[in-house]
């Protein structure tokens, strides 16, 4: 129980830090928008093409954004030298990772939800009739991205060239998330939309596998 309580406290701290400045959310949102606009030049965004390529581009934009957005989550602690204090204040170091991962999932989900209508308008794709289902995909996808991403951000924060290293480590690992969530999104944006439950199940399995790995091995990432 103390694990969850600690994680919630840490989540609160992350949210407070972010909402004081809203730097991360604004920058990531603008970044996603830029990528979406640039992508529209790479093909003719008509109705059929948009349905076919749009979801993939959207998810690619999310992954790129995530690989940049996850950078500061441990760097901040490093610059302020607060990681050891955090470690001393909790009994289970997994709480730190859990708090950070929950915060990252929330931040990512929030920017994605903000950008989804913009994407819908720009590419003429009806996102609101399947909004509930889309939120489910976005949540499971973002959870997977942040679970793997939080672990890898903790790794890359301790290396040289960290800004370049995190995308290098993270993006190939997220291949399954990209494929499954793109497929589910394509099916949801179809003229006769349907929910591909196999994809949802797959994303859930991905999340579970990486959450378990993080739970088992995550504490080693925070060793001094």
């Amino acid at each position: 129980m103390s694990l969850l309580a600690n994680a919630t406290t840490l989540l609160g701290k992350e949210l407070r830090t972010e909402f004081r400045s809203r730097e991360l959310l604004t920058t990531t949102g603008v970044f996603i928008l830029t990528v979406i606009v640039l992508f529209s030049f790479t093909f003719d965004p008509g109705a059929v093409e948009s349905r076919r390529f749009g979801p993939g581009l959207l998810w690619l934009a999310f992954l790129f954004a995530a690989s940049l957005m996850l950078q500061p989550c441990f760097l901040r602690e490093q610059t302020n030298d607060t990681l050891s204090a955090l470690r001393l204040s909790v009994s289970d170091p997994f709480a730190i990772l859990l708090g950070k991962l929950a915060a990252n999932t929330l931040f990512l989900l929030l920017t994605e939800l903000l950008m989804l209508p913009v994407f819908g308008i720009l590419f003429n794709v009806p996102v609101f009739r399947v909004f509930g289902q889309l939120v489910l995909v976005l949540f499971l996808g973002s959870l997977g991205v942040s679970t793997a991403g939080t672990a890898l951000a903790a790794i890359s924060a301790q290396a040289r060239m960290r800004e370049l290293l995190l995308p290098l480590l993270l993006l190939p690992m997220l291949t399954p998330v990209l494929i499954a969530s793109t497929q589910v999104t394509i099916d949801l944006l179809d003229p006769s939309p349907f929910m591909e439950w196999k994809g949802i199940g797959f994303l859930a399995v991905f999340d579970l596998v990486f959450l378990t790995a993080l739970w088992l091995f995550g504490e080693y990432l925070l060793e001094e």
Partner: protein, 225 residues
């Protein structure tokens, strides 16, 4: 020294024999003709690649739990040997594919997941070059290695379900698939020979890594003094 030389000669004999067998003993394939013979080399390297990455995964877990430098040395050796075989697989595949399929590359499940696997382990090796402190490097890269290995079945599954148009597995595949008995014998001999080659490379690479570790310790002592 003598033991290593004998082992080396033995491995070269084995690889030579398996090459001979794949060219002159294995029967002709009905439709593909001569080019199919690269399969004995290509698929055997594929199996060896998985063995090497599995060794790497095992060493990563062992290091994370035990913190003995030898697991780290063996882990990075296995990763490098695995990447070498992975590269061979990625190169010999298109050499076979071009005459048979008419294209060098197609984005099907096994090709793509092998490629992603290669990217993951290249990332593992790059990560190791970017962390100076040996213990930290060993620990962080072992955790990354564990994550990367867990990702492999997920990568394969996702590509197979949603992105594929590819030939079914030939060995241990669906009923009705499979090789002629003579081909199977040659194939398993190639797999055996390639595994022996992997063991040779692994043990040599492990020796180098251990020496490098020792040199590193001396260098640090000198710098500290």
């Amino acid at each position: 020294m003598l033991k290593r030389a004998i082992f080396g000669l033995l491995v070269f004999g084995l690889v030579g024999a398996s090459t001979y067998a794949s060219f002159f003993i294995a029967p002709d394939e009905r439709t593909m003709g001569l080019i199919y013979r690269i399969f004995y080399f290509h698929a055997a390297c594929g199996w060896v690649m998985f063995t090497a990455f599995f060794i790497c995964f095992f060493c990563n877990i062992a290091y994370a739990l035990r913190r003995e430098p030898r697991w780290d040395a063996l882990g990075v050796s296995a990763a490098e040997v695995g990447v070498a075989f992975n590269t061979v697989v990625l190169i010999t595949g298109p050499i076979w594919a071009h005459p048979v399929w008419g294209i060098w590359w197609t984005w099907d499940a096994r090709l793509t997941s092998t490629f992603v696997l290669w990217l993951l382990y290249i990332a593992y090796l790059v990560l190791r070059t970017l962390i100076e402190e040996p213990d930290r490097r060993a620990l962080l890269s072992s955790i990354f290695g564990i994550f990367a290995f867990l990702d492999v079945p997920l990568v394969y599954g996702s590509i197979r379900w949603w992105r594929t148009q590819h030939p079914q597995p030939v060995i241990m595949g669906a009923p009705g698939s499979g090789l002629a008995p003579a081909m199977l014998k040659v194939f398993f001999f190639s797999v055996f020979a390639m595994h022996a080659l992997m063991l040779l490379l692994l043990s040599e690479r492990y020796r180098v890594e251990k020496m490098r570790g020792e040199v590193d310790v001396f260098r640090r002592e000198l710098e500290g003094a």
